[in-house]
């Protein structure tokens, strides 16, 4: 499935979350990641969040679409990081 993760966490955890998500998804902007994941991979990510975040004040949003085809995306201004795999 195609996943978009957006997070807003306390400053001292920002770098930690960023580092972790970078191993699974493409980093498109500050606090925004997207990419193709399997169900199991997403579960692993959710579990990690539950263990490493302060669920009282941190917030993470996970958007999923069954495939990249069902997600339309427009970029206005600069595309900071493309998700291309041909570099």
């Amino acid at each position: 499935m195609y996943v978009l993760i957006v997070y807003d966490v306390e400053e001292k955890r920002v770098a930690k979350v960023n580092k972790f998500l970078k191993t699974y998804l493409n980093w498109v902007q500050n606090s925004v990641f997207e990419g193709e994941l399997t169900e199991a991979q997403l579960n692993r990510i959710v579990l990690w969040f539950k263990g490493h975040l302060d669920l009282e004040c941190d917030s993470v949003l996970i958007y999923t679409a069954s495939s990249e085809k069902w997600l339309s995306k427009r970029v206005i201004g600069v595309e900071k990081n493309s998700t291309d795999n041909i570099l």
Binding site: K19, T23, L25, N26, N85, L87
Partner: protein
């Protein structure tokens, strides 16, 4: 599904923050998600260190290296993560028994030539003058089952391939001149495309073999040589017409690949960087194309078909189910 990463720029690939980083002039520092990477193709001049190699090993990522001309140089094949001594012994047994070996080799050729024929037939519906080639291939194909030795079988395969290649000029409407297949080095654009595509196919198959218990050095059609993974040559035969040749036809016919995408010098011809990127994009998309598998009754990608081919071969080797090569049904 895990992705393949194709790197065409020059720069440095390293391990950082427990993931992969590509540092280059064009991209700056770009993180690549390790957990979502299955294989990496290196076409540019890339620096890397053992820290990265260890990391790739841990994550079972295969790394394929291509030289300046886009020629396959070799792969970093991480420590076998699914070794099976039992299967290896069986695999060798099937090779040692000449009758059994010939049986597998014939089935591979049977599948490969069926797919070749399917390609020519597909175009004979829309282009004039291909019927004659269809007939010639069909006639030659009858000799496959009568072949007594591997070399005889290779001869049949070679003749079919010659007929097939001579049909290329009609299929591509003579947009490029193509007389016969030359390698080492390719001398014209079509040969360059075939060589490049085949080596991409070869390494993709290798990655899929890596993810099964098969040993890539023991093959049936090709002689298991030294310093090469000949089983992936065997399996590639089946997929070359389906993937590589189809890409070439559509790229040339839709004028996506043109004269300017090749570097030509002194009887040598290679795809340049722009051309390579176009081909890779097409290749990547092709492998991700999903079709309905009638037997499994679910949708699978072309890449998955390669893996399934390995599984079928394993089943045959373990005497569980007779191997039947993939024959294009679509």
């Amino acid at each position: 599904m895990k992705r393949s990463v194709y790197i065409n720029t020059n720069g440095r690939l390293s391990r950082k923050d427990n993931t992969l980083y590509l540092e280059s002039e064009t991209y700056g520092k770009k993180p690549i998600p390790v957990n979502n990477t299955q294989e990496i193709f290196l076409f540019g001049e890339i620096d890397l260190n053992t820290r990265l190699i260890n990391f790739l090993g841990q994550n079972n990522i295969t790394l394929h290296v291509f030289n300046y001309y886009g020629y396959y140089s070799g792969s970093f094949y991480p420590r076998e993560h699914l070794p099976s001594g039992f299967l290896l012994v069986k695999q060798v047994e099937k090779y040692k028994d000449e009758y059994e070996r010939l049986k597998i080799a014939k089935e591979i050729i049977n599948g490969a030539t069926h797919n070749i024929l399917k390609n020519v037939k597909y175009y004979s519906n829309r282009k004039e003058g291909l019927d004659e080639y269809v007939e010639r291939i069909e006639n030659e194909r009858k000799n496959v089952k009568d072949a007594k030795t591997i070399s005889e079988l290779m001869g049949v395969e070679g003749r079919i391939r010659n007929i097939y290649y001579s049909a290329f000029e009609i299929i591509i409407d003579g947009k490029f001149e193509f007389k016969n297949r030359t390698m080492n080095p390719p001398d014209n654009p079509i040969n360059a495309l075939i060589s490049f595509g085949n080596s991409m196919m070869y390494s993709t198959v290798l990655t899929e073999i890596y993810n099964t218990q098969l040993n890539p050095t023991i093959s049936y059609l090709h002689e298991p040589g030294e310093r090469r993974f000949s089983l992936s040559l065997d399996i590639s035969e089946i997929f070359k017409p389906i993937i590589v040749d189809r890409i070439i036809f559509s790229l040339v016919n839709q004028k996506m690949i043109r004269e300017e995408h090749f570097d030509q010098e002194l009887g040598m011809c290679y795809l340049n960087e722009k051309g390579r990127v176009i081909f890779q994009r097409e290749f990547d998309e092709k492998l991700a194309t999903i079709i309905k598998h009638p037997k499994l009754n679910r949708s699978v990608s072309y890449r998955r078909l390669v893996r399934l081919e390995c599984y079928k071969l394993i089943k045959h080797i373990l005497d569980e189910e007779e191997y039947e090569a993939l024959k294009m049904w679509w």
